[in-house]
């Protein structure tokens, strides 16, 4: 089963929940994999000492135009839906703008002169770290300067294969990186905070999950701050409140230095494990 930890707003505590959940399940001897899907800013690894057991690069095919074979017909330029091929017919100028290319291969199909070949362009790295006997962390890390983390995220989730229990630490927002993460999960835990910004972003995440037909529940972090509007929203819309994490400077300080808060709080470990058990029993334990 794959469980995604997500939030519309950044900084609500996704990684706090993911890492503590991972730790707690590890303590209970679960075979568990944590995939850090926040490829733009991966952070989960800062919390766990481990050693790298596997590393692979994520690449994308980008076209290379052989100017000797090219007859400057412009068909590839016309086929490219990302404006990644710059073309001036009259001046016989054709140029691939690699940073705009999505690697779809349409230009290769378009070219009937055999002038387009492809090369690999590195988008990021997938590293697998062994954390304990039966648990590991897979980190998706996008190369700085690359436009979209989507391919790297997809590859990282694929690397988790058929592990029985996978936690996906999702990137923030509700656009493609978020979608690519949650679409591959069986259940989504949305982490929010009881503030107007938190609520506004929560609503947008909920709308997205509804269209994707995903089962989900909410954790309210920093409970005690802000106001009660988030609680009312959950009640009105029959959205399960899975857990509340109180606003506590101790938790924040612990997080700031890369320590796992749950490590000294057995009650917290139990609460997190119980939550997962309930989610698994209510949503089926499938590997799909």
């Amino acid at each position: 089963m794959k469980i995604a930890i997500a939030s519309g707003k950044g900084g609500t505590g996704k990684t706090l929940v993911s890492t503590n959940l991972f730790y707690s399940l590890m303590q209970q001897n679960y075979e568990v994999t944590l995939v850090d899907c926040d490829a733009e800013e991966p952070n989960a690894l800062a919390f766990f000492p481990g050693f790298r057991i596997k590393s692979s690069q994520v690449t994308q095919k980008v076209p290379v135009i052989d100017k000797d074979l090219c007859n400057y017909c412009g068909k590839c330029h016309e086929y490219c839906n990302y404006n990644a091929i710059f073309f001036l017919r009259t001046r016989k100028t054709i140029h691939v703008m690699e940073e705009l290319c999505h690697g779809c291969g349409a230009c290769s199909v378009a070219c009937d002169q055999g002038a387009i070949s492809e090369k690999d362009d590195v988008l990021g790295t997938i590293n697998t770290y062994s954390i304990s006997k039966n648990s590991s962390i897979i980190e998706a890390r996008m190369k700085v300067g690359v436009y979209s983390p989507v391919s790297v995220i997809k590859a990282a989730i694929k690397t988790s294969g058929n592990s029985p229990l996978v936690i996906l630490d999702s990137p923030p927002g509700t656009s493609c990186p978020f979608i690519q993460t949650v679409v591959q999960s069986d259940y989504v835990i949305l982490v929010t905070e009881p503030t107007p910004f938190g609520l506004s972003d929560l609503k947008q995440s909920v709308e997205t999950l509804k269209t994707l037909k995903k089962a989900y529940g909410v954790i309210i972090n920093k409970a005690g701050l802000g106001n009660k509007d988030v609680y009312e929203y959950l009640q009105e819309n029959n959205i399960p409140l899975l857990m509340e994490i109180p606003f506590d400077k101790k938790i924040a300080t612990c997080y700031s230095i890369g320590e796992i808060y749950a490590s000294n709080k057995e009650k917290w470990q139990e609460e997190l494990t119980e939550m997962i058990k309930t989610i698994i029993s209510n949503n089926g334990n499938s590997n799909n």
Binding site: A110, M142, G173, P177, G226, T253
Partner: protein, 289 residues
Amino acid sequence: MEIAIISGKGGTGKSSISAAFATLKDKVVVADCDVDAANLYILFNPSLEETEIFVSGQKAIIDKSKCTNCGYCIDFCRFEAISYVDNNVQISESLCDGCKLCSRICPSEAIIIANEDKSRMYSGGYRNGRMVYGRLAPGEENSGKLVNLVRRKAKKEAENNQLKTIIIDGPPGIGCAVISTITGVDHVVIVTEPTLSGLHDLKRTMEITSKFHLKTWIIINKYDLNLKLSEEINLYCYKSGVEVLAELPFDPQIVEAMVQCKSIIEWKPESPVSKKIEYAYNYIIHGNN
């Protein structure tokens, strides 16, 4: 002059600081470029004067009446978006990248390309100037393009209303939306926090700003959460030749201000946080004289 406020890590207080910058003495244009999770409109409740449709991309849809289920398109799709489901060819909306290739090669012309047009850009006035913001519909992409559109509109608003300063509230991360937000601005303010993740993300964000040769400033928010890490951030910035503009203490009044739909400048103008933010803004605008 464009001042972009970004953070790398989410939730460091970017929007609260943008809101504060936007409610000081100077009347300004606010551009909310966090199009994935636009929030400033909640505080500023701008008058809605203009709405523009943003076509974020395209999606392939199968015309069932024409499709012969030959599966030819499946071999061409590099996004693994097309597959057989119960012997019928199906396109996954969330996996489709909108490259259009399937529609071009389909022997039965059974694939239609539809525009994704649910995203919007809004503009209007708010209590301290003009405001432009984009809202990307859930699941839609090309946030970078929408950011460009918002910035262009903000510049026009500045021109038309003789406002000198544009405050840009940026998105988190370091991807295309961030690059679009900071390309060509006069100042970038990175808001960070003294956590290991904060520092890690700050380094990645600074890689981007130095790559683009942008005038960069740092604000450390909640610096008293971890003094040792704050010191480390200071040291890192010093070594990189980037100036730390302000260190803001943790203050629950920032959240309280948000609940009251106000900026911290409007809610507690005399608080140390407000004073420091005001100083930082003046320093950016007027330099150290």
